[in-house]
Symmetry: C2
Subunit: 411 residues, 2 copies
């Protein structure tokens, strides 16, 4: 009988028929006695259509005006869902960011939420209405329209759940939960009943596309119980929640992979103060995010330095590095856009040694060469040749005991 | 070197190429030294696409939520035009209704503007930017999104011109000015260089589609010089302005016609107090707008009453009237959906008698039977059979000396 926040992604509201189905699902939660705040994304394809229009008039668009255009996608959906709820006999009111004051900073196209005014939403709930809130959008202190970046509606939903101290936040998508690996790559993957915030955060950072990273950070910070569910089934989905003892018994809870990676190697980097800052400063200026960095010491006061970047940033990265060759006296720059990052994640690693070694052993036995390694308290990532990504995921999934009980029979 | 307001309609911003052309036109005005506020409509077809989406989820939509959906059309265009101006080397900032506080009443789908906060616009102009404002939309005192009705962007433009005390307001459309008659019906029609506010107001009321009625009322009230121009040519267009002596010399400045009319006749209406109120009250309840009303006295204390309504309202009107037959003891209800209203408009009529008589004479000579007549100080309207509408317009156009000098040669 508590307050629930539900979020429906673009595929869940892709056309009028699906919007009507979402309206029925909302009214089911109302009939069970819950107060309901619903966050929606743009109808699938709409944001890309709008971005294409933007590109057609300006190939280097100002992010302020681009945000004005793309924010309309969610505005259409909140109106349509409110109307569909009303057509199905319920009561609903839509809210734009400026109407419930989802105030963000002024970083257009990837703004961060600072605060939300819960009063207009509480008033709608008190009148028995479903409050239908536009995801993805905000306003800054000056009233400019901002957007939260791809997947930003997840963050809107969790931020609302935190502000309203909701009993739960349900994220409806086109998969029925969080899996031990991408089922398209690993047919033996299992849906998880539960996963800890920290594991989910690592998975989101490592390329799992289920939730926007910011939304998991928010959920973890405010301890919002987060359900990942499918809007096309009645499966209970996966609960993202606080870690407990049972979770720690599992060494590895998921295997992720990200094929949108590229790796660079700088040969003969001088081993003196300020050189690394010069290299990574040049990338930062270009807003290029650098991932796994490995430095190999050499004998003559020079080292080889390798790092990974998103594949889309490879050309800009090479250009920036090539410029540094004369300045730093580098021996050369090599790059490879055919790499992938394969990772294992699990809170159980904290209390068990040897997990990384076991991962390297599994990959070695499959003949997969490891190019770089990166570890954190609850994950190990390896950069491998892209062609081995699927093989690596499947081998690790089996080795760490994640395969469905019935999976062996299928093979 | 003054402040100009320009408004571009849906066909002027129909696609990226046309939006780029509008951006160039804006920058031309800037290069001439004018401060510029630009109002845009939705790209043509967009509002209808959105209304269709609304209908697909709810056939009796709440007007609040419908306004939330359809207001997105203009939001897309302000972003795109601002980006196109920037791409062409200019500076621009877009404004939604809530950002320059275009405050309206709460009559969703046909709201009326109450006030505008000119400060954010003045600040943008002071920075040398083109202020690009969303037409058609407003917010009410509670911050709800409202819209101003079809053609509402005209009213946004004139209201802004009034609030900012602009030197002129230019309405860009797909015709190059106001004509003496619809050129599609009357090939001899001439473009007017000037027309008075009052004539323009009558013409807009009588079915001319060039400007929204409210925009002309606003322009008249605040004495805003209003130019109607084409965005596809460099024609100077038509100036809508205060009446002067030269205008009064012209008996008739325009002939309008409206084919979307239907006429009803109630036979044997009892001649006693309250009956007319009962009849027109029943129509008012259904929000049916009644136009030309004529009552013909009869001998036995009963009369025939005829009136016109919009053709789309005919079915609802008949149903309402049929219900009154037993209550009022009417002898019958007749209706005809094949009628048209043909009108002559001109401020010169004020000082000349015999204009109406001459109109009836012209129609009589062409064999056009007049079903009803309505007059005001500066117009005479006749209801005729729809099939005579074009003939009537052409005959009146010639008879009142409006034909282009070269038109006779063409025939």
């Amino acid at each position: 009988m508590g307050l629930w926040v539900q979020k429906y992604g673009g595929t869940s509201v892709a056309d009028p028929e699906r919007i009507r189905a979402v309206a029925r699902r909302c009214l089911r939660a109302r009939a069970e006695g819950h107060d309901l705040v619903v966050v929606v994304s743009a109808m699938s394809g709409e944001t890309n259509r709008l971005l294409k229009l933007v590109q057609s008039v300006n190939q280097r668009p100002s992010e302020r005006e681009q945000d004005v255009v793309v924010a309309t996608g969610e505005q259409v959906t909140i109106g349509l869902l409110s109307l569909a709820i009303q057509a199905a006999g319920g009561q609903a009111t839509s809210f734009l960011a400026h109407q419930c004051r989802i105030v963000t900073d002024s970083t257009f196209s990837k703004a961060r939420i600072k605060r939300i005014d819960e009063e207009p939403l509480r008033a709608a709930l008190a009148r028995g209405e479903v409050a239908v809130v536009a995801g993805f959008q905000g306003i800054d202190e000056e009233g400019n329209v901002t957007t939260l970046g791809r997947g930003g509606s997840d963050t809107t939903a969790v931020a609302l759940a935190a502000a309203l101290r909701a009993e739960r936040c349900e994220i409806y998508t086109d998969v029925d939960g969080v899996y031990t690996a991408d089922p398209n790559v690993c047919p033996a993957a299992r849906k998880l009943d539960r996963i800890s915030y920290e594991e989910m955060l690592e998975e989101a950072s490592l390329g799992a596309k289920v939730l926007q990273i910011r939304s998991v950070e928010f959920a973890m910070k405010y301890r919002v119980p987060l359900w990942v569910k499918s809007s096309f089934t009645d499966d209970p989905g996966t609960l993202v929640c606080e870690e407990d003892a049972a979770m720690e018994d599992v060494l590895v809870s998921g295997i992720t992979h990200d094929r949108n990676e590229a790796r660079l190697v700088l040969r003969g980097v001088p081993d003196r103060p300020g050189v690394a800052a010069r290299i990574f400063g040049a990338l930062d200026e270009r807003h290029i995010v650098v991932d796994i960095i490995v430095q190999t010491a050499q004998q003559d006061g020079r080292a080889d330095l390798s790092f990974t970047v998103g594949r889309a940033d490879l050309a800009a990265t090479r250009e920036a590095m090539d410029r540094l060759v004369p300045e730093l006296g580098l021996r050369g720059v090599e790059s490879d856009d055919q790499v992938a990052k394969v990772s294992i994640v699990g809170v159980g690693m904290r209390n068990h040694s040897g997990v990384a070694a076991r991962m390297f052993d599994v990959l070695g036995k499959e003949g997969v060469n490891i190019q770089s390694i990166s570890t954190s308290e609850i994950k190990v990532s390896c950069v491998v040749a892209a062609k081995y990504a699927e093989l690596a995921v499947r081998a690790l999934h089996t080795a760490f005991g994640l395969d469905r009980a019935d999976a062996a029979a299928e093979r």
